[in-house]
Symmetry: C2
Subunit: 336 residues, 2 copies
Amino acid sequence: MVKITDVARRAGVSPSTVSYALSGKRPISEETRRRVEAAIRELGYRPHAGARALASSKSNVLALVIPLRAGIHVPVAMQFAVSVVTAARRYDHDVLLLTQEEGEDGLRRVADTALVDALLVMDVQLHDPRLPLLRSLDRPSVLIGFPAEPDGLTCIDLDFKAAGEACVEHLVRLGHRVVALVGSPPEVYVRRTAFAQRLVQGFTAAADRHRLASAVHPCETGADAARRIAEHLLREQPALTGVVVHNEPLLEPLIDAFEELGLRVPGDLSVIALCPDEVAAALRVPVTSVALPSAEVGARAVELLMKKLDGATVPDATLLAPRLTERASTARRAVV
Amino acid sequence: MVKITDVARRAGVSPSTVSYALSGKRPISEETRRRVEAAIRELGYRPHAGARALASSKSNVLALVIPLRAGIHVPVAMQFAVSVVTAARRYDHDVLLLTQEEGEDGLRRVADTALVDALLVMDVQLHDPRLPLLRSLDRPSVLIGFPAEPDGLTCIDLDFKAAGEACVEHLVRLGHRVVALVGSPPEVYVRRTAFAQRLVQGFTAAADRHRLASAVHPCETGADAARRIAEHLLREQPALTGVVVHNEPLLEPLIDAFEELGLRVPGDLSVIALCPDEVAAALRVPVTSVALPSAEVGARAVELLMKKLDGATVPDATLLAPRLTERASTARRAVV
DNA sequence: GTGAAAGCGCTAACAT
DNA sequence: ATGTTAGCGCTTTCAC
């Protein structure tokens, strides 16, 4: 293995000069830098990560805790993970993957052994058991999602409340007066993840503000559930013309169900989804949607973490503004 | 930070004794072991990962390279990643996540800096540019999938050839004589990933062996493509009664398309899929399938890697036997 | 069965 | 602008 002393010898300088040439932490003359770089190249030198971590107490590794629970939409999680890795590499950091299986122990382990410098935790629950630990750790962390008591923690997520409002307001602009929200499976709400509830809040608040008739229904996934909820909605709100769907796999079957019940989308019924843009765009009827910006959340989360590692102060809460994209599933309400 | 000398002092022993008590690399008296363990517990001692890596030249971290390319089925990749992490933890290893974005540089970086002890590479291409590098690296690796020239490399995957044969033989047992394989989008074949082609080989070989009429068609994803391919198949092979589908997102629309064309599944047409069991079971018509055992592949890949790290010799090729599960989409051929 | 001590390869004072 | 050197915290010979 070629080490820093080898490089130093070859370049005719001291090891510290090589180190400083690499880190840029002190000025190096043009001539020296050239010689060092040449030596590094010629010898194929790579600093030993463990030695670095030991001497500098920085591992340049972030922990990413990904969920495996049911109800989590997998491609979203994956896209998020990829964006985290990509963003971390821009800051010369690597990413250690942890599953939720190990729970708090895993977080404590990687933090206490100094395997990682900082932690990124996805899929935070309203009353997440890991919160006290994260608060007590000597390493910075960023949470994806908002718990009930985010004090002392840095959290980031799509602004689901604003997203709910944006959906309603889009429907209002199109003249709709009777709307419904078809949500995620009941367990998502029972588990009390904040984001689903915040969407409901935004939806309801905006509907009330605009004096719309509105209803909210959690819903299971699958063609049968789609059919049932469609029939139920039309019975309950015969004048229904606007539907917001926060349940990605239900989207296609639900639109099918409505059409089988004789309602054209968007002719008779406008549909807005909360889902990744790719999904919305790829459906048979491209669906107007508020994007779930996993990639953006991942990149921003890493930025926050890097700032914290630099000792900077960052906002406790970062809410990403919703972005609504019009597609073929929404239209002005037909005048009867 | 509490270190090994703190533990040693508290237990009244030397640091090396603590180290050996932890590693079990030399016998420790019952009494001493007790005292050391107590001291560790009382002080909350955690060995510093970097220091360990430096002294032992083992980081206890594996690199996992995941793909992000189109055509890769994301949930499969994710499930695989999770099973790798879980398996690695059983061997007291952690997992560093790399994307393919960095390509060969990323592999070289984590290997040369001794950040990882070994590498796991997913989604290997027939002529993968990373192969020479992997062969030259001083660290062991395991590939998921088979390249054209696997010499000197350790590879593991589902036995796609046997899977193709198993599908055909199941159809034969049910009396079918005219069969077709609806494959993945053309780019999967163009990219020349081995697995898709091996499935075709097995399918064709078994069909020929049993003197079946058979056809193979790559196919895009989506309802339109499903409709087109269904019509095409029935025109080309009017007597068709058995279809193997290796294209997960196409599965549901394809069955719909057949039924809209007046063919009942499984009454008129038997369908077998290559996809994860959960997917096959969750469809409207639960589909007979050969499982894509991502979790098993992940766990086995880690086991292979651990054996190699131990200096053991492992087989160059590990082919997991296909497992076919009968569900509601296959039936004995109707006698006309 | 246990201890002493020499590194592992790097960083960051402290010098000059 | 560069060199010297003392650690960082652990593992592992070597010695008893």
